[in-house]
Structure formats: C-alpha cells, structure tokens
C-alpha cells in the first residue's frame, strides 16, 4: 500500500468519494460509492469514471497510466469507510472477470498489510451458490468480501 494516492473528496454521509486521476489522457473524475445490499451489513463498493453528462461508466478502461495509484486510492476509501462503519462488510467485484482478477492480484500483492487490518474472503461458486472462503492468492474468485478487524489482543 506504499503507493502514491490521490487526494479525495467525500460526501457528508461518507459513502461517496471522488478523486481526479491525472495522466496522459488528461484529468478524469473518478467516483466510488458504497451502497447497501439485500444482506444486512454487507455493502457493495462501486467504482467508475464520471462522464461529461454526469453518469458513471464502471466498465471503461481509462488508459491514464496510473492504475496502481488509482487502485491504491480506492483501497484508501475502504479504509476510510470501514473506519466510520467498522461493522460493515464490503463486497468488491470487478465489472469484468479480468478486472476482478486485477483486484485479486492487487490484494495478493499487498496481502500482508491488508491482512493486518481486514479479514479477506473470496467468493467461490459451489453447488449453484456462492460461498465465502478465506482469500488465497492464486485462485480466481467471483468477488471479494473484506471486513475490518476491530479486535485487538493486549497482553
């Protein structure tokens, strides 16, 4: 997680973040939204580029040559959000399987640090359902769930 990160703006409700990516394609506004799902305490992270008409495109490949900085910035929003709402689990999935694999690689690369702060799970397909299993680096998951560690052991 020792990557450069963009500065962020956040809504008063602390569930919507924005930042501006800067690179060869110019400046691109990025939006991250945390939304509740049908399951209590499970929230979805959605992330994409803000288009000129104000809508969001979460399937676009920006090509602004700052992928690590963008992913690190998105990760910081998970830290910030789960600091405010530590009992909420965050569901993370890419807009395509290849993007989900990209997220898996990013988690793997930073696993030791992330594992200090989060319980990390992957979702696998089993008997027609999705099952939450402990994250392992070399497995393709449907999505990921992270949950902030809030218990501290003291001698």
């Amino acid at each position: 997680m020792n990557y450069p990160k963009y500065d962020l703006e956040v809504s008063t409700s602390e569930d919507l973040f924005e930042f501006v990516s800067s690179g060869p394609k110019g400046t691109i506004e990025k939006t991250i939204q945390f939304r509740e799902t049908e399951r209590p305490l499970l929230y979805n992270l959605a992330f994409g580029d803000k288009k000129e008409d104000g809508s969001i495109d979460d399937g676009i490949i920006s090509g602004n040559e700052d992928m690590e900085k963008v992913l690190a910035t998105v990760a910081t929003t998970v830290y910030e959000y789960t600091s405010t709402f530590p009992d909420r689990q965050i569901l993370i999935s890419g807009s395509t399987p290849s993007r989900t694999r990209l997220y898996r690689m990013a988690i793997s690369k930073n696993y030791d640090e992330l594992n200090n702060d989060f319980h990390i799970f992957g979702l696998v397909r089993k008997d027609g359902h999705f099952e939450k299993v402990p994250f392992e680096g070399n497995f393709d998951y449907i999505a990921f769930i992270v949950e902030r560690k809030t218990l501290k052991l003291e001698p």
């Binding site: 997680m1 990160k5 500065d7 962020l8 703006e9 956040v10 809504s11 008063t12 409700s13 919507l16 973040f17 924005e18 939006t31 939204q33 939304r35 799902t37 049908e38 399951r39 499970l42 979805n44 959605a46 994409g48 809508s55 969001i56 979460d58 910035t73 910081t76 929003t77 830290y79 910030e80 789960t82 600091s83 405010t84 530590p86 569901l91 999935s93 807009s95 702060d117 979702l123 027609g128 359902h129 999705f130 099952e131 939450k132 449907i142 999505a143 902030r148 560690k149 809030t150 218990l151 501290k152 052991l153 003291e154 001698p155």
Partner: protein, 51 residues
C-alpha cells in the same frame, strides 16, 4: 490475553491522504450511481451463503 474493541484507523491517519468533505456530493445522497452494478450484485448476494 485481553481482547478489546478498537476503532479502526481511517485513511487519513494511516496513509496521510487528504480527504475533504464536499457538500456538493450530497446531491447524490440516496441515488444509485451504478445501477448496472447493483443488479449484478443483487444476483451475487441472492446466491451467497455464509458459513
């Protein structure tokens, strides 16, 4: 060993990232900015079993 519940640190404290509250973003409050994604997630959550 004693267990205690701690408030997790945020991004500002952990990474020194600048995070500014922008009240202009409140205009999106309650709005689903990613409806396609939400539909995908509904399908995943409907089939999700926690053990």
């Amino acid at each position: 060993m004693k267990k205690s519940v701690t408030r997790p640190v945020g991004a500002k404290e952990k990474f020194g990232v600048n995070i500014t509250v922008n009240k202009d973003l409140d205009r999106y409050a309650g709005k689903d900015l990613f409806p396609r994604k939400t539909e995908e997630i509904k399908k995943i959550v409907a089939k999700l079993t926690f053990r």
